[in-house]
Amino acid sequence: MSHVDGNAMIGALSLAMGTDVADAGGVCAACGLDHPLAEAHVYLRCPGMVMCCPECSAAEIVLVEIEHRLMLTVRGLATIRFGTPAQS
């Protein structure tokens, strides 16, 4: 089983962040790639949801739903850019 697109995590991520992140972008803290969150690689076949950099595969965001509470860990994004069209 491999990854799916960032899209698959956008709903839960928007809920956790309290704002729609469908158009948000991010800068990978490991390799510096600036990319739309929707273009990240997402791994769902694991204990939570993990968003990884599409270039270097470093884990950027980990999202876990624990007893109806969302727990968000931003491990590897230097910047998250909200609400502006993503540049590729």
Partner: protein
């Protein structure tokens, strides 16, 4: 709300597996990132306590006594697999050979950046090993081959795939899932799935 007719995969109510687990015959692949491909010739494992460290390559590891265990394994995503057979080098053998002090905490790191933490007692007093064979064959890359940590009495996220480093310390440092909300210890029989359990 309950969904009529939805059971999920069959879950066992037997007490042979921990609470909330179902028995599966296959071996699901769970990963927080891409499968890491490492040839045995490139694989290395470093054991260190801050003062002493020793690095093993594939041949070094195979120069140590091997043990075989048959055990059930339990994943926090609710599946358990019964009677799996693993061959490898026990962690206590490895720590003795490396000459490291049994400091109280271990942080385990993998190729690809995954980490997990556990008490050193759980590595040396039970069945924990660096496994190099599963059910009589090589360990497939998707299951953590060529070498993975196996700590069968804790949830499987503690059994780091593609293991490359075990660092012993006086201070506890949390790993990938432990930081993200999973239990610090992860005993399946006490259903320690989340930090709040």
């Amino acid at each position: 709300m309950v969904t009529r007719g939805f059971t999920g995969r069959a879950r066992s109510a037997s007490d042979a597996v921990p609470p909330g687990q179902y028995v599966t015959a296959d071996f699901p692949v769970l990963t927080a990132g891409p499968t890491i491909a490492i040839e045995p010739e490139e694989w290395e494992l470093t054991i260190g306590d801050g003062a002493t460290s020793k690095t093993y390559d594939w041949d070094d590891l195979h120069g140590l006594p091997m043990v075989t265990i048959t055990t059930d394994i339990h994943c926090v995503t609710h599946w358990s697999k019964r009677d799996t057979t693993w061959e490898g080098v026990s962690i206590s053998t490895l720590f003795d050979d490396a000459g490291v002090d049994d400091l109280p905490f271990a942080l385990v790191s993998s190729y690809g950046g995954y980490t997990t933490n556990l008490p050193v007692a759980d590595l040396v007093d039970r069945d924990a090993m660096i496994a190099v064979r599963f059910d009589g064959g090589e360990i497939a890359a998707e299951h953590g081959g060529p070498a993975r940590l196996l700590v069968p009495h804790l949830y499987l996220w503690k059994s780091a795939k593609w293991v490359r480093d075990i660092r012993l310390s006086d201070d506890e440092q949390q790993g990938f899932w432990e930081t993200a909300g999973y239990h610090n210890y992860g005993d399946p029989w006490r259903e320690q799935r989340y930090y709040s359990d």
